[in-house]
């Protein structure tokens, strides 16, 4: 399909009433969900997935993107008004937005964050459109050797970025890869590790792992502390005044900061495993270093809010780059988006842009559209935001758990999936308590079949193992994988030495 046809077709699909309505609902759901402390963006997207099963592919993915982009802005609300990051991506937002709100300018803090988010998402969508197609052109030429090495690289980067111990991170990735082998073998269809148990016969569905890990076990840790359950009153009282257009000019008067933070977000989003939760902190840190008045950071200045919010929003588009171009999800959220496409029977990989160009362009456009919708929704509804953050956890947790059950049932309508969900949730909860990072496990589960298929294809084509080391791109990726582990080990050893000294 030529590019213009694909573009027109995607515009046509995207601007249908059904898609616009479901995207708008997605935006609202994303903003609201992320504004509630304890309800993460990932949770919201995971729970949106089953709803999209009955939609056409582009509508489904566009709706999920809407939740994603909406969630990016929603975390800002509780960060600015309560000083609690609604999602991990908004941690750095609390540094300046909250002091600003307490100083009597909650409206300005929110509007700054919303505009910064909007421009961040915009920049990332532009980079995505420019970068993904050429990257996919290169990626199509990669053989199974390069793919296998790429996955090894992705797995080691994820393991080294999250959590305190790289051993535990790597172990979780491997555990994920192993969980993916339960069920049928991808090439021969032989049942593996099912032990004749019905529950395991179809394997452990990815969606069940995802909901179990990111929702059920997360929710269980939300209700640990009885005193925290009764949420305190917001520390910022009533009256929110805001002048959206004056603030827009204010945001645009920091072009350097805006662009730098957005680019940091894009790059970090494109690295597997890193994401909004890291980008906001790095963008904030870099903005502080570049500032002429670094000592004012943390006291409630515009620069801090702009850096954090544009940084975390820009990761959305960045994360889509490896997914669309290589078929390797950069984060848990991208893994869910990829799962959504796979459920629809669309294979995600470098050929996506060629075979389903309308879908790929539709996703690019949906990013833009969602950013605009979030902006419009937030500017209109800002006055009611305080209310959202007041909903107590004793209501949120059970309601979201019921949504988890619906999500697990929607996939295959098997009650056994529900039992698996509880098992995964409990195991995930205990693993988290033992300081095991959970994100590598989830990425392992989705990358497992891709890794295995490519490894076996590579050896089918040529039995020579050394090709992994002699093909230049493959060797380069393996060296990067080793380096990422080595640097992390060095960093941890230094930290330990510093603590002891």
């Amino acid at each position: 399909m030529p590019m213009t046809d694909a573009l027109l077709s995607s515009v046509e699909q995207l601007f249908s009433l059904a898609t616009l309505v479901s995207m708008m609902i997605g935006v609202v759901a994303g903003v609201v969900a992320a504004a509630i402390p304890g309800f993460t963006i990932t949770m919201a997207i995971v729970l949106t997935l089953p709803v999209t099963f009955t939609m056409p592919p582009l509508q489904g993915v566009a709706t999920m993107l809407a939740v994603y982009v909406g969630g990016g802005s929603g975390g800002l609300i509780s960060a600015a008004l309560l000083g609690i990051p609604g999602t991990p991506s908004a941690v750095a937002t609390t540094f300046d937005a909250y002091p600003m709100a307490r100083k009597g300018e909650p409206g300005r803090a929110l509007a700054l964050g919303i505009w910064a988010s909007f421009f961040g998402a915009l920049v990332s969508a532009v980079v995505l459109i420019v970068a993904a197609p050429p990257l996919a052109m290169i990626a199509v030429k990669l053989g199974p050797w390069e793919y296998f090495s790429l996955i090894l690289f992705a797995v080691t980067v994820v393991a080294s970025l999250v959590g305190k111990s790289i051993l535990k991170g790597l172990m979780m990735s491997l555990l994920g890869l192993f969980i993916a082998t339960v069920g049928q073998d991808p090439m021969m269809g032989v049942p593996r590790f099912t032990f004749g148990v019905d529950v395991l016969a179809a394997g452990i569905p990815f969606l069940v792992v995802l909901i179990g890990i990111f929702a059920v076990s997360q929710l269980a840790s939300e209700v640990e502390n009885p005193t925290e359950l009764q949420q305190g009153k917001p520390l910022v009282s009533g009256e929110i005044q805001f002048r959206p257009f004056a603030v827009m000019r204010e945001v645009l008067s920091h072009p350097g900061n805006l662009l730098r933070s957005s680019m940091i977000g894009v790059v970090i989003g494109a690295v597997p495993g890193a994401g909004g939760s890291i980008a906001n902190l790095i963008a904030y840190d870099q903005a502080k270093r570049a500032s002429k008045t670094p000592e004012r950071f943390g006291t409630g200045i515009a620069d801090g809010v702009v850096a954090s919010e544009s940084g975390n929003s820009a990761t959305a588009g960045g994360g889509l780059i490896p997914m669309i171009a290589l078929g390797i999800p950069g984060s848990a959220v991208d893994a869910v988006l990829m799962a959504a496409l796979m459920v629809q029977g669309i294979s995600v990989g470098p050929r996506l842009i060629m075979d389903n160009a309308d879908l790929a362009y539709g996703m690019f456009l949906a990013m833009f559209l969602a950013a605009v919708m979030v902006l419009a929704f937030c500017l209109v509804s800002m006055r009611w935001f305080l209310r959202i953050t007041e909903i107590p956890k004793s209501i949120i947790v059970p309601v979201v758990l019921v949504c988890c059950a619906v999500g697990a049932l929607a996939l295959n309508n098997r009650v056994t999936d529900l039992y698996l969900l509880i098992g995964v949730g409990l195991v995930g909860y205990l693993l988290a308590k033992l300081d095991y990072p959970l994100a590598p496990l989830v990425l392992g589960v989705i990358l497992g079949p891709i890794a295995e298929t490519n490894l076996r294809r590579a050896l089918m084509a040529d039995e020579d193992w050394t090709l992994f080391l002699t093909r230049p791109i493959s060797a380069g990726l393996l060296i990067l994988a080793v380096l990422s582990v080595a640097f992390t080990v060095r960093r941890i050893l230094r930290q330990r030495a510093a603590v002891q000294a």
Binding site: F53, E224, K393, S394, V402, L418, V427, L434, R456
Partner: protein, 177 residues
């Protein structure tokens, strides 16, 4: 995987006892290592293929082998950490559980919810579950209990109606009626 999770469920307490955590890790990793060795041996029986050098069992064995190594390494690390802690300090498994009783109660309710769903159906099970968990988490009387009941009714019945009529995803309707 079940036996491994049961071994870990016992001794651990997060905040004050590093010792409990290290001990839990040792037991957990020992259990997992044993499990993976067992699976590694079992994977040897998986058929090989005429068409490719790697059969169905090779990739899992590669992963399982690496998992055993990593588990042993974490175990050694935890044992070193264990030696570094005060021997007299209690592990405090009981307190750890008591502190997190609400989390476990919520998960237990969720399990009961799943088990009862095939019998009493999604709508009824959800309604009872929502009410029970809100009660457990603090909606004990008066206005809060009333709100809890309203929420249970809206979401229990509402989600059922929404998914079965709007999204056409069939949810269990219950065997008893």
């Amino acid at each position: 995987m079940n036996d491994a999770t049961q071994t870990v469920s016992r001794p651990e307490r997060e905040t004050s006892s590093e010792r409990g955590k290290a001990l839990a890790n040792v037991i957990f990793n020992a259990g997992l290592a044993a499990l993976f060795v067992g699976l590694f041996i079992q994977a040897g029986d998986l058929p090989s293929s005429m068409w490719e050098p790697l059969g169905a069992g090779s990739f899992p064995r590669l992963i399982l082998g690496a998992l055993v190594i990593f588990n042993l390494a974490i175990m050694v690390q935890s044992m070193a950490a264990l030696r570094g802690t005060d021997r007299a300090a209690s592990v405090g498994a009981r307190r750890w559980f008591l502190q997190r009783r609400l989390a476990f109660a919520t998960l237990a309710s969720f399990a009961i919810y799943a088990l009862s769903m095939p019998w009493i159906g999604f709508a009824m099970a959800s309604l009872l579950f929502l009410l029970a968990v809100q009660f457990i988490l603090g909606a004990r009387r008066g206005r809060r209990l009333l709100i809890a009941a309203i929420i249970a009714a809206i979401f229990g019945l509402g989600l059922y109606a929404l998914f079965s009529h709007v999204f056409l995803i069939s949810l269990p309707s219950g065997r008893l009626w």
